[in-house]
Amino acid sequence: MSLLSQIFDLLLTPAFAASVLRITTPILFAALGGLMARRCGIMNLALEGSMLTASLFAVIASAFAKKAVLGGVSAAQADPALVSKATTVGIIAGFIVGTLAGIAICMFLAYMAVGLRADAYLAGLAINTMATGGTVFILYMAAGEKGISSSLDSCSMPFINIPGLKDIPVLGEIFSGQNLMTYFAWICVAVVYFIIFKTATGLRIRAVGENPNAAESVGVNVKKVQYQAMALSGLFCGFGGVSLSMSYVQFFSRGMTAGKGFIGMSAMNLGNASPVGTAIAAFLFGFFDAMGNVMQSLAIPVQFVQAIPYVATLVGLVVFAIASDNKVKKLKAKQGK
């Protein structure tokens, strides 16, 4: 099979593995955001809108902060020390403001779903629609642009070369030289694991998600816990948005999330809202997405290749459904005996 060997030739390169990690990053953040929400019993469909808003505000804040520090001098003429200071300030400002914007959107959803008892699905969809148009509107107000933020001199997160590791062949090529946000995403998996399973807040979140009435009966403030969990959900969406516009690419363009929030949502469901399972599922989606990219050069119709990530999502969900079905059957059989 020459086609199969061609495919393996493409996939077994360090460059391919490195791009899988890169492509996984925003999906993983979105999945972690979805995980926090689902653990408290809310389906956060606004992941997409929250990320999109965060990526816009990250770009605007970093560009304006950089400009303010430079004080009207153009980056090309300013003193290099001042430029590097301005860039650092810009990165921090973009990161903070972007993340806050992500949190704000998720808290808005929490207010609708928890405070006002609106349907979380409908509210989430409405928020996504609002974000699609709203980001273009705000971009136009801030930069006079409607498509891409080409007139905003925004900053980007640094790429990290890990000393020692970077000199090891293959491994160095894969794991060193990635963007800061990529490492941060995998650290966040551990953080989420810790929050969910090792803290009192995590215990309450899980209790509320499993059975809000039971939690309430032992004195847990269900609403408060849900707001906390949604704020955490927004935090990770915010990180995801920042990673899109400050590391994945270095500008904002309309609709740049391009379904990554929903792919993250599926990854979270596929991983059954467990941090490790979710991370593995997100990595798988990243893998299939990257595979779709490199396979375009083969003699396979492009339309077929472009469908691979989505087919993989469907197959994953079906496998998961069958597996959990079998589990239930086994449990029932045990009880029968």
Binding site: R22, G133, G147, S150, Y248, S253
Partner: protein
């Protein structure tokens, strides 16, 4: 509670309408009735052919020749028909591209003749989707000519002998660029390798960057994006790797020069499709009465609507030797010594053979 939700939903709608709408009226009524012109598009701000059309028409309005208004209906393609219908009732000239992947031409086939006083200009659409309707003017561009030059230049400046091409969608409009690009590159270097991929979207800049990285990993050192704003991700991949990019439609060096100088400096040139100039030519001919209907009007190098940007960055990055060789090729293309194939009307097998020949 319900009231608040309703209020929020109303806010959502208002928000998206503001974002998508925002038309501007240019010029004022001055006694004599000027020709009223409406550009219907998804959104301005693509730094590409919509903005080019807008710039050309705005210039006419500034000269006081027309009353011009642009209607941006946004991303909701269910609005194509109603927007065109309203425009047809109110304006002398309605300009659009083939909105909604064929919805505009479908609507025109059925309805154009009910508005005999309105002329429809459909740009970037060379097919005979609307045939023999006297008030529908199809306008097409010889993108194969400008991209022949882009391909030739890419091959001249490439050190690795591998160059990249990314398209937005698999469509004849994009294929016409591709065919020109490959033939131009092969004219300079018969053994050139062209890595061809498609983003599947005109807005997914992240995917554009992914595909750029793939092309770079294969050794490409000049990347050419033909994918609207999604293509900017592809160009950014080239910039980050210290390689060169070739933009499309508008001069993308000029677009990024002021605020993203690093990206701008990596864009060696852009394959230009001057939609604005072509529309201005046609509308001027309508005003002075020399316009006659044709099934399709073609605009290429001869009409100054196709070419590549030879700006200061081009002069800086391309060696004098390569420039001389490039100018010789341009000359030959202009005087007909070189002919370029076009993807319009080309069957899939021929197109595949061309793509395969550069692998």
């Amino acid at each position: 509670m319900k009231k608040l939700l309703a209020l929020v939903l109303a806010g959502v709608m208002a928000f998206s309408m503001v974002a998508c709408g925002g038309g501007e009226t240019e010029g004022e009524a001055e006694g004599e009735a000027k020709m009223t012109v409406n550009l219907v598009c998804t959104n301005l701000g693509d730094k590409s052919f919509n903005d080019s059309a807008d710039a050309g028409l705005k210039a006419l309005a500034d000269e006081g020749l027309i009353d011009y208004k642009v209607t941006e209906y946004g991303t909701d393609n269910s609005k194509v028909n109603i927007t065109l219908e309203e425009a047809a009732q109110d304006y002398d000239v309605v300009i659009c591209n083939n909105l909604g992947y064929g919805m505009a031409t479908a609507w025109l086939r059925e309805n154009a003749e009910t508005y005999p006083d309105t002329t429809f200009l459909v740009y970037d659409e060379p097919t005979d989707l609307v045939e023999n309707i006297q008030n529908v003017q199809m306008i097409a561009y010889k993108a194969n000519e400008s991209d022949f030059l882009a391909g030739a230049l890419a091959a001249l400046i490439s050190e690795t002998g591998v160059i990249g091409f990314v398209g937005g969608m698999e469509a004849p409009v994009i294929h016409d660029f591709l065919v020109g690009y490959i033939e131009g590159a092969q004219y300079v270097n018969p053994d050139i390798v062209v890595d061809v991929s498609y983003i599947g979207s005109y807005t997914d800049a992240g995917k554009g960057k992914d595909l750029g990285v793939v092309a770079l990993n294969k050794g490409a050192d000049v990347l050419h994006a033909v994918a609207g704003s999604a293509g900017n991700g592809y160009l950014e991949a080239a910039q980050e790797a210290g390689k060169l990019g070739i933009g499309v439609d508008s001069d993308q060096y000029e677009v990024f020069k002021a605020d993203k100088p690093e990206l701008a400096n990596s864009i060696v040139t852009s394959s230009l499709k001057d939609v604005g100039a072509s529309l201005a030519t046609i509308i001027k001919s309508m005003i002075d009465g020399t316009y006659t209907w044709e099934q399709c009007m073609w605009f290429g190098m001869a009409e100054d609507c196709a070419g590549i940007a030879e700006n200061e960055n081009y002069l800086k990055l391309v060696s004098a030797e390569d420039q001389a060789e490039f100018n010789a090729i341009k000359e030959k293309l202009a005087n007909g010594e070189i002919t370029v194939s076009t993807a319009y009307g080309m069957d899939a097998a021929t197109l595949n053979a061309i793509v395969e020949s550069a692998k």
